[in-house]
Assembly symmetry: C2
Homo-oligomer: 216 residues x 2
């Protein structure tokens, strides 16, 4: 099996999304006590295309056993390793307003593979407190030392637009490798920092478009 590190191209988002769905399907099959499954069975759970799934997996190595299908547990473990999810990645959230606290407490951000270690804010009334589920709120001026101390690998930005870029730059300088930006401004990729800008307007525009097409 080729190691992911031998790949030089970034993984296309669509591939990553399919592999996330595939991982969910494998978790579901494993929970249901299924030991081996065909690509059709694995694909069916999330409406995936089984030929596409075989093609995706073939890019990363040999996972199938001819005539038997895929060993569910083995494929799941390999997929988690491939996606860097075979350990817990520590998250730090800049901005302890409504959005930051909602993310800190969300099931999505504390699911298998992820854990929110701290919120950061500059409001003295919030610093020293905790979110509803107990995530500590630290002074944003201590961001750099907290990154080292807590081993934060992924930063989340939930501050107003004007604060996003300066904080992204501080996160990159502190050694954070990836960033999810919720501020309503596009943060560019910085040296050593992967950036994913989340713009919820796209979802609304998509729904509006579908409404116009299906109900016009």
């Amino acid at each position: 099996m080729r190691r992911p590190s031998e790949r030089t191209e970034p993984v296309p988002e669509a591939t990553s999304h399919r592999l996330s769905l595939l991982l969910r399907s494998l978790r579901g099959l494993e929970s249901a006590g299924v030991h081996t499954a065909s690509s059709f069975e694995i694909a069916a759970r999330y409406g995936l295309n089984s030929a596409q799934i075989r093609k995706d997996l073939a890019q990363f190595g040999e996972f199938g056993v001819r005539g038997l299908g895929y060993r569910v547990h083995e494929l799941k473990a390999a997929l988690k390793a491939l996606m860097g999810l075979d350990r817990t990645r520590v998250l730090g959230i800049a901005g302890a307003g409504n959005l930051g606290q909602a993310l800190a407490d969300s099931r999505n951000f504390n699911a298998e593979g992820f854990r929110v270690a701290a919120l950061f804010d500059l409001d003295g009334r919030k610093i020293g407190g905790r979110s509803r589920t107990g995530v500590p709120i630290r002074d944003i001026s201590t961001l750099e030392e907290a990154v080292r101390e807590l081993g934060i690998e992924i930063g989340i930005i939930a501050v107003p637009a004007e604060g996003a870029l300066p904080i992204a730059q501080r996160m990159a300088a502190a050694g954070i490798g990836a960033l999810l930006n919720f501020a309503p401004v596009t943060v560019p990729a910085l040296p050593g920092l992967l950036v994913k800008n989340v713009d919820l307007t796209f979802f609304l525009e998509n729904l509006s478009f579908q409404l116009a097409v299906t109900k016009a």
Copy 2:
């Protein structure tokens, strides 16, 4: 030009996303005082592929003028009409917790084409109050009458997992046409209701994958 309503297939999400970027590009060109632009110029702003953009637009009608390129204002107006963004769509948010209030106050949800008219909750301490930017919080038991009264077309779900499906069903029954679900559970499409489930775990898994591939 064909009317969108003549199309029967739902619009692929990737197409919708490209057209959203295209709309942003056209807004930018218009703000810069540009009257006509080639597909290359329009595509360049957001790293789009100009051949793909021409293909997308050709699906929906004849927008270009041979030898001249595209008339920016005209194309923008046609694109907004195509995507149902030529008027303001009214949003209602179920759940006035941290996430619901963050969304109600967000620039993304009150951008050109969208307006949050109300939050809904069952907590008596919140009902009758307002979000930071002034969005009123109503009793969720009055959802159906508020949908009619305020003309809510798109519902947002920001409640705990167990409340999501019952509220989606009430929204569908009340005549809401589309739903954006942030609860950590998948809401199925219901008769007459388009559903987009937003799962932020995908973004984190994508970043983890990219980190594994580029930095392993």
